[in-house]
Symmetry: C2
């Protein structure tokens, strides 16, 4: 039999885990707009940030330092799974008949199954060091909550997770996982907060959303001096921590002497895209011909269909007002299987990158996304999360474009997590029960979104 | 904050994936007994084996070569996740206060989530090369079926999996996973075989077992000339393929200058224990003081409570008769959450190793096993499969023994797979609903087993 032609891989030794995080803000063409306190309409103060976040996180949130040293305990915990391999999808290239090379940064070996642990470990470490006793957070599909549960257990902190009510009841596995790591998990909306009780009184069957979960989590922070909010995607400091992905990737590409033409990642808020691609922004600004592409779900695509404006980060305005691409904080995304991508806005840094023309965006329907994920699994053996499959959809489309044009492009994507806890969705897809969302599925879409939606 | 003290790890570069499998048979004190054709009572012939197995597998089954070259396409596919790291559980050591060092070979990064892919890839490769078109197999919890589904997809073969009926209905995730990789999955007993129809006529609610699934799979082989049986644990050739685990481990221990005092692995049939420990058998026979310990479930513990004798490999005698430790082919294990360990006998090589005094065995109740697995997850971040947690239970007990005696032993165990598809069981454990099996739970235990069971 001839050589299999399945994969190539580029590994890094464990001492090549980055020693510093990279902060893209000082390299952007302009600074992000400052956060607004919605109760006063004025810029938030440092005190306001420190009441919300762990003290060191408040400092990182507004830092203009390009490089920030990774504390040794965090770097040691990264050794649980880092460095992650860079893998070439040789079988997919052959199947597509593309002259492009397709590489992916494989983040799925993390104990929590996705890239989210990069920031969870950092936030838990600083919370402990700064003397806090408990973190509280929101989670949608459960990827972030699981990662933070592991991190809080490792560093010795209590954790309360507000989980979108629909997922809490329909996806018990992620809840079981968080509880196994010692986290307290509450459905959102729920009866432990004033805001949750108010929502349930109005709509007893309210399915919840990331935005309601954030609002309830923030109410918990207000109620307890020792508690701070940990954020899974939105904030500058969270995106900072994920830069280890892109920094390792740069080193690995250097080892094989390649520069990327496309850097592709799925976007809910933008934590995996930013961590993966931000270390290449300076190269792009210096003239490198790199397309950074955000792959969004058609059902919730702020970068594709939203507007760049001031909006709330949560659903009741307790959190900051921020400038970013948004579908509106009142937007309730229809249920799709990439639960990690159901958020009305994107991270301010990612919004700014788009606003400054550093970022392209495209939206994909979930059936075509599962087509891509399943194709990838069959050819390459790895089962991607539905979130990750958005990036794979985009990669396949770009590789086929290269086939038409004959371009020998280097396409690199971020394999942000595995799909082993999404097998219910794969089952529905296998049985032909999955469909794309339609206009009727939206409770309150913004006008720009309705216009953008394919018929 | 002081250093975290979480883990150490020893990685191997990708070119250190072994080039040869190690066959322990020529190094054992005596050869295994030959297989018996139950229909004639005579030794099976090569033709009989070749009608059952892929031709090359029939040859490996009886091979006395110590080293067998790994075909390059199989070795390339191993690069999907191999070499696997050797990791030191520093946090667990500290928590236990043991002077022992605890290391584990981390097999959970395989795309199928366990070590099973080591043999699945080999069997699928040879099936394709030898001109067969379809494999058929049995699976209990689904670990083996998933691995073989990936392997058959990669090498271009059809696959039919008979899945224990109780798992087929209660654990749809594993079924979804196999179907995503293109396998046809049938419940056992089911109505597609004569034997399945017979069982269902007698017991319409028959939950099935590994043994019924094997019998139905073998009936499929008889019915189609292009089909062969792929075996997930029992056979010599399957155990051979898993020797890559132990060979890598030997190299990694050499790198840190340590020799093992304990090698511990869970045992259902023995594929992970044999692959992990067999490369150390020669050292042990040459005088090295190594304890090889098989960790079994109390509910189904052939090495602990069974007898070494001739018995059937399946439930109706279509498969071979073999000499090994067995609880009797008519034994139906009660439902426990380590579904991968529910088999009445163990692999002939493992049985022989026990019979020759090369192997110790201990049995553990599932509540204490989940205690151990949860403790490990909280301290080290990795969530083990319930099967793997049997080994962790044994490791903790041995490490505490070392604490009492002051022995600075090197304890190494095989982390055979992750528990992300077992979160239902973790949820039951978290909610206090898990219990150990009791004598009343057994349908037909052997006398030696009843006597051995703790009250």
């Amino acid at each position: 039999m001839k050589p299999l032609g399945l994969i190539d891989r580029v590994d890094l030794p464990v001492d090549k885990i980055p020693t510093r995080w990279y902060n893209v803000i000082p390299d952007l063409p302009r600074l992000p707009e400052e956060y607004i306190d919605n109760s006063t309409g004025k810029k938030v103060t440092r005190e306001w940030l420190e009441r919300l976040f762990v003290k060191s996180m408040a400092a990182q949130e507004t830092s203009l330092e390009r490089w920030i040293t990774i504390p040794e305990p965090v770097r040691e915990a990264y050794k649980l799974w880092r460095p992650t391999p860079l893998i070439r999808a040789v079988a997919l290239e052959r199947e597509l008949g593309t002259p492009a090379q397709i590489w992916f940064k494989y983040e799925a070996t993390s104990p929590s199954g996705s890239h989210k642990l990069n920031s969870a470990l950092a936030q838990a470490y600083y919370a402990k060091r700064d003397g806090h006793t408990r973190l509280v957070t929101d989670t949608g599909a459960g990827q972030w909550g699981s990662a933070l549960a592991i991190a809080c257990q490792i560093f010795g902190l209590d954790l309360t997770v507000f989980m979108v009510r629909a997922s809490f009841h329909n996806k018990p596995y992620r809840r079981n996982l968080m509880e196994t790591y010692g986290a307290e998990v509450r459905p959102s909306p729920g009866d432990t907060t004033e805001y949750g009780r108010k929502l349930l009184a109005e709509y007893p069957d309210h399915p919840g959303s990331e935005a309601t979960a954030v609002s309830e989590a923030l109410e918990c922070v207000d109620a307890d001096e020792g508690t701070r909010f940990a954020v899974g995607a939105f904030s500058n400091h969270c995106l900072l921590h994920h830069s280890v992905i892109g920094l390792e990737l740069k080193e690995q590409l250097r080892m094989i002497g390649r520069t990327p033409d496309y850097l592709i990642a799925s976007v809910g808020c933008g934590s995996n895209l930013s961590g993966f691609a931000s270390p290449f922004v300076e190269d792009k600004l210096n003239g490198a011909d790199i397309t950074i592409l955000a792959a969004e779900p058609e059902a919730c695509a702020p970068l594709t269909y939203g507007e760049y404006r001031l909006d709330w980060a949560d659903s009741n305005g307790r959190g900051p007002g921020v400038h970013t691409y948004t579908l509106g904080h009142e937007f309730v995304p229809p249920p799709i299987h990439a639960g990690g991508l159901r958020y009305h806005g994107c991270a301010p840094i990612v919004g700014l990158m788009r606003h400054e023309g550093l970022l392209d965006a495209e939206a994909y329907g979930q059936v075509s996304v599962f087509d891509a994920g399943t194709t990838f699994a069959k050819l390459q053996g790895y089962l991607p999360a539905p979130e990750t499959s958005h990036a794979i959809r985009a990669v396949i489309d770009k590789a086929l474009e290269c086939k038409r044009t004959g371009r020998e492009a280097t396409i690199v994507f971020n394999y942000s997590g595995h799909g082993l806890l999404d097998l219910g969705a794969y089952g529905r897809y296998n049985d032909g029960l999955l469909r794309d969302v339609e206009k009727e599925d939206f409770v309150a879409p913004t006008p720009s979104m309705v216009e953008g939606l394919k018929a």
